[in-house]
Amino acid sequence: MAYEQDFRQLSAQYLAQGQWDMAYGTLVDLWYQQPSLATAHYVLASYERLRQHVPLTPCRLALLRSFTVEPLVPLLQAAACAHGIALEVYVGAFNTYAQDILDPASALYRFAPDVVLLAVQTRDIVPEFWSGYTELTAEAHDAAISRTVDSLHTCITTLRSRSQAHLVVHTLETPALPSQGIFDQQSSNGQVGAIHEINAALRQLANQQRGVYVLDYDAVVARYGRIHWYDERKWLTTRLPISADCLVPMAQEWLRFLAPLTGRVCKALVVDLDNTLWGGVIGEDGMEGIQLGLEYPGAAYQALQRVILDLYQRGIILATCSKNNFDDAMEALEGHPGMLLRPQHFAAWRINWQDKVQNLREIAAELNIGIDALAFLDDNPVERAHIRADLPEVTVLPLPDDPMGYAAALQATPVFERLVLSDEDRERGRYYAEQRQRVELEQQATSLEDFYASLKQEVEIKLVDAASLTRVAQLTQKTNQFNTTTHRYSEQQISAMAESPEWDVYSVRVRDRFGDNGIVGVVIVHDGEDASDIDTFLLSCRVISRGVETSILSFLVERARTRQLRQVQGWFLPTKKNAPARDCYAEHHLKALAEQDGGTLWALDLVTQDISCPPWIRLTTCEGVLSQ
């Protein structure tokens, strides 16, 4: 408690002194220390005073609901604020979600939300499945299901057709005690089963639509305990069904969706070793002395490793940063029987006695990702505070004092949440491990040309299709560095462009002797009367500067020629992060045509100029332009 008071006093001091970044950082600490209604109001009032100095990622959320959600709004806003999101919230009128969605002139659409959350309870949308279930006839039962599914279908498809906003829909929750008692589970027409049937239909509806995601409210209620979750008296008097203790968990669950929807996520996890991946200190306790295995207390560390390995399987890049003798640490990583994580899972390591700030900077550089794409996991609160103070871009993950809580703490963080998981995501950990081998080869090769030739690169350019749509949209949203215009597109927008005759959207896949990098590039072209305009040209950093850019431009040139166009042109719009793409057009001899708001329009005259594919790249394209 004294510690918490410190954060309050500290943030007030920083505010008074005009130290805005420190004040914001302290508010974040305060929120993680004590997430509560009181803290939420305090954090929001304090943030109001510094918001113009510490801009966060803006997001407009429309909350459509069948119950009282107002007390949840400040909690969600405070949780979002601590997560770097400035959330503006529109709350739909009580139980008017259907009208809000169906009326094209409603306040919902005027609000122009980025995200719409549809939170409807079983007892509101299908009350006969909540109480009095035993009185239902078979016909009434079937009718209730189809009525509810139809109603959800209408809401979802109507919203989808009128708004580009992402839509998050709650599943319907099941009662703690079904009307048929213990028999409900085995009954062929059980109450719980009937609600599950609606939820299954809802999942199917979401899968058929772009940008519609299901939040399993039923599972959230179960996670915290059905009986504990509800406060029946508050429901009856204020229409707030959720008990005071469960308001924070509800807000946190919403945030797990807002984090990936606003791009506030991390690409890599950097872990400490001693007392984080195992108990004890390897340099002192040795292989036999450290705690790691199936038994208590080593099980806590193995459970954490299991969660980290799951993240790796989901495409999170792993790195380690530890103050240790390299050989001691490697002996454990390679040989300890309790280890689930092995050296091949890590894309980078800094096992030395250097300052961790320097190590984290080097890891980000080595992986070719922004420093803000790193999340840092360390048992030592001093190291955590050090990183938070000196590298505020890094997400420092909170850990409890008790190692038995480590695994759950890591699972609870929203920074690794993804709304979709493409095949590329699943393979990413392996790509980065292979990247280490590529770097080793580059160091052995005598010339760059030799190295490129030895890579045996293949570039495949295809029009976007159903299989690549998710990945292509994801790349436009996530690629910051080699990205000429940084235009962000949702799946819905990519899909609309792909169908339009004026636009072509291409995916770029790159393979080499170490493996398939998957789809790592996107090009979006708009053809005018005499020029072909490159709206988007982006590449993942793991393939740039090996001639892949040149091969893509050679394709665009060839493509424009077959369409009798005279020019290929494209804007470079500078951002804080896209310096790697800045010189690309100039290096390929495009000429600066115009400047506007800091951006430059580059053009290549097809009558006098050309770009050819590098000889070491095998290029395959959907237009049949082949080069060897």
Partner: protein
Amino acid sequence: MTTVLPRLQRLFADLFACSEGDITLTTSAETLPEWDSLKHLQLMLMLEEEFHVQVSPETMEQLTSVERIATWLEEQDVSTGTRT
């Protein structure tokens, strides 16, 4: 009441974005114009969260001043309760 009042002052200061010194035992829904029904619900939830108590609908209707809240909390024997 002496032990509960400072904690109540802080809760009120958070909720109404005012200073703790503005809140006294005589502060009530009549003297504080921002204290509407929605703020009242939030206040009751904050009491439940901070003091680990249950506020019944009947009690909720009556807790319309700082003094009433403090007295009621004392009756619930929360004065020794510590925040977690």
